[in-house]
Amino acid sequence: MSLTSLGFLGFAALSIILLRILPGGGWRQATLLGLDAAFLYSQTDALLPLLPLIGFVLLGYVAVIAAERRRARHGLGLLVLGMVAIFVWLKRYPLVSALPTFGFAFTVVGLSYMLFRILHIVIDVGQGSLNRPRFVSYLNYVFNFLCLLSGPIARLEDFEPQLRVRPPLPSWREIDAAAQRILRGYVMVAVLASIATNFVNLLKPEFSAALVHGEVAHGVRVYALLTGTYLFNLYVNFSGYMEIVIGIGVLAGLTLPENFNFPFLSKNFLDLWSRWHITLSNWLKFYLFNAVLKSLGARFGTRSNMAYLGAIAFFVTFVVMGIWHGTTYIFFVYGLFLGAGVTVNRLWQIWAPQWLGKSGYKNLQQRQWYFQLSRAATLSYLAVALTSFWITDQQAAALIRPDGLAIFLGGYVGLVAAGTMAGFAWDGVSAFFRKRLLAPWAPADGEKGGGPEVRRAGRVLLISLLAVALASMVVALVSLDLTGILAGSSSVRRLAMLALMAGACAAILISVGRLEPAVARWRDAVFPRRGRDAAAIWLGFRALLAINLVLLMVSSIPEFIYKAF
């Protein structure tokens, strides 16, 4: 089942109730196993296509036992290689696509994540850092329904205790925060991502046409827009998914690790990977980057060449990360591209202090324009690299011709320029929000509630609500006739239209984020003692949002928007 289906909401509610009512120990493990099995089964609605996946995980446990039995170094390497080989075979990577598999169609949903979870246990048990988990804990960790589709990759030592022991009930404040996260996640996935997806689908044929006809100037604009929107789409989809599963996890008593930490604040390409898909980056650091660099350093390392060995280790890590993401050759290109990016970043970090001096380089990093530029260059690089995720073979072939390369490079430069300007604008607007609208809230010492406080809080609430309403109206109106608007107008008007849409989406995102705290402040100001009235207002607001959300999902607004496009 999909996360945005009503079925999943029901399933999540049932999971939370069961996991909170039933005691810890065997009951909890059995319940979790049942939930995991039901969720897994719902992916295919048949048992047969799941068998290879289940077989893989069972073999994984055999590998864990083998790793525990003989802690010899080479044995461990072979176990890891064996699991990777089976993974490569099941995923049908081109290298081994000639090998036969099974006589029936099967699913590999979540297999990439399962591989990394299993390898983590095999390696750590083999090296003696981890005790072999019980079989049922192993299954509940590898198959966990919250992490099945897109991670995160938790670490067993953090996750395992929660599988056995029922944690204490969260406080109201924590429940409230979790509910906020789930709502925000659904807004991101069900609303923002579907708008962005439709943009992407609209721009793809435009891009294709520009590529085929060699219209470079037009192609550059379309390509920059397309890659930028795609990055935004991936972000709201993936981090929205994380908000939902982490929020449900809090309610159900399963703490999941965070996977995103404001990636749009990344200072550079290396920084980005400590903010985007963090659990994957950490896994790769633990078991690939560190291992590669250690063995390179032990053999060839000297004081002066460690920095360059580091660049090699980064390069290898990113190539593997690319191949992990998908099976076709284009993901190898994606990995190479990311590897090149990180290498350039590393080399700049080595050379820039040599050219500018240590203090000169530090001064440069303090500059606002340097931050904006390198942030835009970083995010645009990721956006352009993500081309690998959606490009067709035909388009890829056209993209490496001279016209195509011009579009590619021009698109990147355009995106960096637009990103830098957008960064300045965004920071300016949010500084305005913080200083003018939010700062007055911080109550002075001794000041509690009172007239001006209420008026200020009410004002922000009103502005946020108006912003959401206005932005939604803009999006709805433009969506209704986007094809018409785009068909007959000049490219400047089209760009302006798209910018308007992007701005409206951003306004919704900000306002939704502001709306909740705004209501909370208003409530606190009006009912400083948090009596029953305050609770009623709060519940009413929550219910309103929830009803909206359910309506949104039932009425299939995403499909509606899709058709409107």
Partner: protein, 80 residues
């Protein structure tokens, strides 16, 4: 079994050499944030130095999840 004072002494030498800063003096609570230049690369340089200095091998999980110098000393004294 090594005692902690001796380990700290030898670690100080190692840190000063690797981070090129004679003023470094580590304690249990020292973390990567406290020392200029302790990034993912310097971390491995440091681990290699520790492994050589104390003739031990650290596991992937240990290398990855070290939170502070205190944990490093724990591993060294337990193993060395």
């Amino acid at each position: 079994m090594l005692n902690r004072e001796e380990v700290v002494e030898r670690l100080n030498h190692l840190f000063r050499d690797i981070f090129d800063d004679d003023d470094i003096s580590v304690t249990d609570a020292t973390t990567a944030a406290d020392i200029d230049g302790w990034d993912s690369l310097a971390h491995i340089t440091l681990i290699l130095g520790v492994e050589r200095e104390f003739r031990i091998k650290m596991t992937a999980a240990e290398v990855g999840s070290l939170k502070n110098v205190g944990q490093m000393i724990d591993i060294i004294t337990a193993r060395g």
